[in-house]
Structure formats: C-alpha cells, structure tokens
Symmetry: C2
Subunit: 454 residues, 2 copies
C-alpha cells in the first residue's frame, strides 16, 4: 500500500480552508421541496468540481432541479477502474426554526462540530470527496482510477428525475461501482460498510369529510375525520412501528442466515445506542438483536406527521385529517408493493374512506458482498481508522441505489462516514463533527488506492 | 296581550340602521384568546347601551378582559320583575383564513345573510336585544320590567373571570331570571327553548418524548409520540364520539322519563338535520332518537385537533404529539369529574405517559321547566313565529348558566334564536340571516311583555 503520510499531512494543513468551503455551501439554502435558494447550487457545485480538476457540466432534470455531471481522469489516460460518486446538493427543509439554537443557514461551530442545514446531508459528504480528490492530486499525483460524479438536486424529494438523467447520460456515467452518499457512523461510532439500502415510500393518508370545521357543540352529530384517521393508522401500524398490513409476511421472508450472521457481528448495545441518540427510551417491546433486526432488516413505519385541526383554532371539529407515514422497505417490498398492501388492508378493515397518496419513494437494493469494491472499502476503513469497520446488511437511511443498477448496470456501495448518529439528518441541529470530516477524507484516499488494485 | 303592530313596524323601518350597527361591531376584531382588538370593545358596548337609555359601566375582570354591566329601568320606578341579560363581546379566533370567502373582519352580505366572525356569536344576539329595548321604548313607552346586563369579554376562553365579576357586583345583577346568550334555531329551523346547557371541558392530551424531531431512518429505534397519543385517544373515545372512560355510567344516569318525553316531542329528522348542516353523513352507528339523545343528553367528545409534526417538515419523526378534546358534559358530569375519569382511564390503560391539561371549562346546568319565565318564553316565541317553539332538555352549545345560579341565585333560561344550524359558530363563514335577526327582536319584545305578567 502507498504511504499516506503526505496525504494525511495535507488534509491537516488545509482543514481550515476545507471547513470554510463547507460553511460557504451551508450558507446557501437549497431546499428541493420548496425551491428556496436552489437555483444557485448547480453552478456552484460545477465550479467547485472544475477547481478540483474535473470537467463538469450541468444537465437538466425531467422533473425539477438540474444535476451536475463531472469526470476526473488519471493523467495516463484510461485507467483500469471507474468509480461513480453519487451525491446531492439539495437539502431538507429546516423544519421548526425555534428548535435550532443557531440559524439553519448560518453554519456555526460548537463543541468541535459545525451546525447547519445540509452540512451533513449531503454537502459535507459531497465536499469531503472533492477535498480528497484535491488532496490525492496534490500529494500522490495522478488519480489511480477514473472518477465520475452525478450530483443531483432532487434527492430530498425522492429523486423523481434521477432515472431519466442516468438514462440520457448513460455513457458518461457508467462505472465499475457507484459509491453512494448516505452512510454514517453507527450508534456507537463505528465506520460502516452497507451492502445496500432499505428504500422507503412516503405516503399521505387523508380523510376528507367536510370542507370547513364546524362548532364542536354539534360534535354529537358529526363523524370525526380525526377519529377515522387515527383508527386507520393504528390498525396498520403496530405500537413498535411494525407494518401490520395483511399479506406482508408473504412478500417479506425472514432474514437469511447470511443476514443474521451480519447482524450478530455488529457490535450493538441498546444502552449505547440510546445514549448516542440522546433519547430517553428505544422502541417499546424490542431489545438487543430483535431491535437491531427491526432497525435494519424488517419493514417499519415512521409516523412523520398527524394533523387535524390547528391548535390556534377554537372549539371546532375539523372536517379533514391527514397523516404522513414513511414506510421503510427491504428487498422484496418495493414501494408499489407496500402501497398496494396498505390500500388493501385499509379497504379490508373498513377504511375505504381513507385516501392513500404516494408522496415519494426510493426502491430498496442489495449489493453483493463479494464485490471487489466491498473488500477495498473494508480495507480502506481499517487503514484509516485503525480498527475494523462494521458491515451492515442494509443501510438504515435510504439513498438512490437500485436506479444505478437498473439504468447503468452499476452496483452501489455505501461505505465510509462523514456523519454519525447524532448528526440530526433531516432534523433541527444537523451537524458534522470536524474530526470525522477529516477522517472521511483520509478514508476516501485509501479507498481510491484499494479500488485501483482490484 | 299588547298590540305589537307598531313595535313590528318600527323593527322593519329601522332594520337598515340595525344592520349597520351590527356591521360596525363585526369590523372590530375582539378575540379573547389572543387579545386581538379586544380593548376597544367594552367602551363601545357601554356607549351602545347608554344610547339605548341604559346606565352602563365597565368593570374589571380578575382574569383578562373587562365586562360591561348595565341597567335600564321602567319610568315608573321599581317594576315587578327583573330580567338579567347575559351576552359577550369577545369572539372566537377566525381560524383558517383561506376558508372564508369574505374576510372575517369585513362583514359581507350574501344571500340574505351577513357573514363575519362574531356576527352571530355573540354580537348579533347582543345588539338584537339592545335594538329590541330601543324599539320597545320608541313604540310601547316605559319598559315593563327592569332589565340588567352582564356583557363579558372572556366567554370564548371559558369565562375565567365571570364568577368573580358576579360576586363583586351581586347587588347590581340579581334578577328573577337570566336570559343567556347562546340559543339558536334547531337543525330544521324551529326556535328553541332550552332548559339548561351541557357545559364542556376542553383538555389537551400531550405526549412529550424528545425535544426535537429525528430522521425517520432512525424510526425503527424510536418510540413514537404520535402512536402513543392516537392509541390513548381512541381508547377513551368511541368511533361515535362516546366518552368510553371507566366509571362514566356511575356518574351519568340514563336520561329521566321527563327528558325522554321532551326528546320524543322534538320534531327530528336525521335527513333534515344532515341537510341543514350541509354535511354528507351524520355520526356513525346512531340514528333517530338515539342520535338525538347523543346530541342532547349524553356526554360526547369532539376531537378538535390532533397535531404531531408538521406537513412542511421532511422525513422526520416528531418528538411530541398533542390532541385537543372538547368533552361535552351533562348534569352530574362536572368538568373536574370528567377530567378525573379521563386521567384514571389513561392511567389504568397504560397511558401514564399521556399528560392531561385542562384548557377551559363551563359546568353544566339544568333549569326547572316550571319556572314562569319558561312559559313566558314559549308564549312569546309562539306569538312572534306563528308556531310553537321546540323545547330542548339541554342546549347543545355551552354557555354560562350555573355560575348565575351559584353566584346570584338566579336561574338561567336559553330562549329565542338569532342563529340557526348553518350559522357556523366558531367556524369559518359565521353568519346571521337578517330575517332571523329581525324575528328575534320581535320575539324579545313579546318576551318582555309576557315576563312582566308572570
């Protein structure tokens, strides 16, 4: 293996500038859901890539926001391996402004971490990879592999245009392996290698009975939209978040022996996970490997919102009610299958008045554990961290993955970690620990070298 | 009985000015919950009363907003009977502005009705009574009874200061009977006489697990506040809105034979009620006299709001959830009794993590059917409308009533109707039908005369 002494020293010497660039990115709102500030991002990303020696171009999306495609090639010309990097420049809405001690668009350093919307997901990962490419070229010379980028602007709305972009730009994006955005350290701080991702489908359940609220003195005469909605949700979702729809067992088999072996190899502690997440209690009724299996390998439902009426209104009965459910998937349970099961369940249990609308989805995907890039990532993480990474059968977070297999024939790997369990992705106080940002650059340099040797 | 020919002609001749005064009242926001615009109202009400020949004064509330106390006396001096009028100048918040075709603070005439927040509840009723007093004095001469007013500004927040105001001003407010605000025509257009009111207690149920939302990819590890809240609510409230808490049958006996007789005498039609309310369906599982009994004589729960997370947030699991329940009461089930039963129920069913906070309450009250004022009101309504009013055992809406009995020793009657079932009290598009406003003035004049003869 090459000597990474100069590489690592360069990372340390240029850390201040790296963070300044990350702060500049974080100052730009780029909310794909609302469009806030997003127009300036694709040109900024393209310019950053060009400065790092890549050729970059902006390509339109068939949906809403453009993507950036780029390539950096070894000086010697064609290299043996091609790595595709998947990142996104869009971010989640900041949510409840009052829950942010520092403003979401003003990245702020506290306790060794930088806080701001998008700092972790995904501007940190996007820039750390570019900073690694810069560091390689400044210290090691010519790149050991061809590196391609697809940086989209619609990830946080379910990547509606990504498949179309990949199809149109297939020849510029094909690669031996795609390294996706989205991984993080686990609840106890280990770097993770993830053999695929769960995928999700976000649905809105809605009951619409009357166009306007009516006085609650009439409540004895009125059907309640809230009541219908709540009963529908608790009929389909268990107290532990399990998806309880009829027929789910037929499409989701129990985890394989290989998956169970991966589960058992994960150094897991309920108490450490609880502490790392900073929460008072974990999922009711589950503990140890059963909780871990639920977290990683079983479909579950996160109730993201339930809204009927408004706390500022008076004594009225609202005419409608809605809930937003995030159904986390596993291979075998594609988004359309999950929605179909949910709709059938509601209909069979007398809830045909509950409308189900799909808001966004990402299909689940598995990566073959014998892929050479998997071994390269494990070795790179071990070298960078001084200890073994943890191999997860599926990544808890979703990311685009199957779309690369379907459109490009390229398998996807999730490896390395800019973030950790307290990074508050999608939530207030999103952050990146600066030491972990630099550790990711060191991992990435080693991954390039290991990949070139496969 | 006196000849009301001149009285009725005066009402017709001055209708335009009456409506202008109502519009001027409606233009003033006076939201007790938020304080919006409420400071100007007490002086305005006092001035209006003075113009109608009453002596008015503003008295402080021990809670938040002052009340107006007034008196108009017959020219001959002491009259045989004293009537106390109870009204309020505060209104509900306008709620969802988008649901108002015309602005809530700009009273607008459409299809013979005047639309605006507070036009019906209670500015219409307040002014119609003052206009009736003016009309009597302009056409019949000296008032036949002493008339006293208590016009409060805290009704829509549960009248927290009313008992204190009555206690301090007891000598200026005692009367043979109190005619309360709050009645309306029933679902099929009949003027109603109500022998008391249900009362209510508004409670917030809250589950607070975590201070901030977390990414829903972590949902498999997280207890759900929404789930806990929804299960708690549906355990305590039936699909028909029935309060299902343990022990409720012990404190709420079945309706008496006299109440059942009143129920059977009410001209009720499910279909007419549904049409009058402009809704697609009535309470599930109830019909005919069972639905009417539920509406009038049984405790029920209106779910006013359920909120966890926000539809504008991304893929996150909220850390808290809350619901606002309006529990409508009946005699025997005082607010504190209902809340105690609810708390015990939640605790007994494993929901000790659900906090219950009381937001507002009004105790239920019954009025003796043999009170002379009841017969006077029935006769006055019959004379004004040309048909019998309908006598309800309890008014579906709440109003202050027991506080007059407790603090002044004065029984309360709910009679006559400025509003109807489509008046949208507390809701968007609140309105008063102008013909019904004038009909109320005619009823009120006749009631004064009938009351004087008891």
């Amino acid at each position: 293996m090459s000597d990474f002494g100069r590489f690592d020293r360069y990372v340390g010497a240029h850390a201040g500038r790296f963070f300044e660039e990350l702060i500049a990115y974080g100052r730009r709102p780029s909310v794909s859901a609302t469009g806030e500030g997003i127009g300036a991002m694709a040109p900024l990303v393209a310019a950053t890539l060009e400065r790092a020696g890549a050729r970059a171009s902006i390509v339109e999306s068939p949906a809403r926001h453009p993507a950036v495609i780029a390539e950096a090639v070894p000086e010697a010309g064609e290299a043996g391996r091609t790595l595709l990097l998947y990142d996104h420049y869009d971010v989640q809405p900041p949510g409840d402004a009052a829950a942010w001690p520092s403003p979401p668009w003003e990245p702020t350093l506290r306790d060794g971490a930088l806080f701001g919307r998008g700092i972790a997901d995904d501007k940190g990962e996007l820039l750390a990879r570019i900073h690694a490419i810069e560091t390689w070229q400044a210290t090691m010379g010519s790149l050991p592999v061809r590196v391609r980028w697809i940086v989209e602007g619609e990830h946080e709305i379910g990547s509606p245009g990504l498949a179309g972009i990949l199809r149109v730009n297939r020849s510029r994006l094909q690669a031996d392996v795609c390294l996706s955005e989205g991984t993080g350290r686990d609840e106890i701080g280990n770097v993770t290698i993830n053999l695929g991702c769960r995928g999700f489908v976000s649905v809105e359940l809605a009951v619409r009975l009357r166009p306007i609220p009516l006085a609650s003195s009439l409540g004895g005469l009125l059907p309640s939209a809230s009541d219908r909605l709540m009963r529908a949700v608790v009929s389909a979702v268990g107290p532990d978040g399990r998806l309880l729809v009829d027929g789910i067992a037929d499409v989701v088999p129990p985890p394989s022996a290989a998956d169970e072996a991966l589960l058992r190899a994960i150094p897991w502690s309920d108490e450490q996970a609880r502490t790392a997440l900073g929460i008072g209690a974990l999922t009711p009724g589950l503990a140890g490997i059963d909780l871990l299996r639920h977290h990683l390998l079983e479909p579950f439902v996160a109730i993201c919102a339930v809204n009927s009426g408004d706390p500022s209104w008076g004594l009225v009965v609202p005419g409608d009610a809605r809930a937003r459910l995030d159904i986390r998937l596993v291979p075998g349970l594609d988004p359309n299958v999950a929605v179909d099961l949910l709709r059938r369940h509601l209909s069979a249990h007398g809830f045909s008045d509950v409308a189900v609308e799909v808001l966004a989805s990402v299909a689940p995907d598995r990566t073959d554990a014998s892929l050479p890039a998997v071994a390269a990532a494990i070795a790179a993480a071990r070298d960078a961290e001084g200890r073994d990474p943890v191999v997860y059968p599926l990544m808890p977070a979703y990311s685009a993955s199957r779309v690369f297999r379907d459109e490009l024939g390229t398998p996807t790997l999730f490896a390395g970690a800019v973030t950790n369990a307290r990074s508050n992705l999608h939530a207030p106080n999103e952050n990146v620990v600066l030491d972990e940002y630099l550790a990711y650059i060191r991992f990435f340099g080693r991954f390039l070298e290991r990949l070139a040797r496969t």
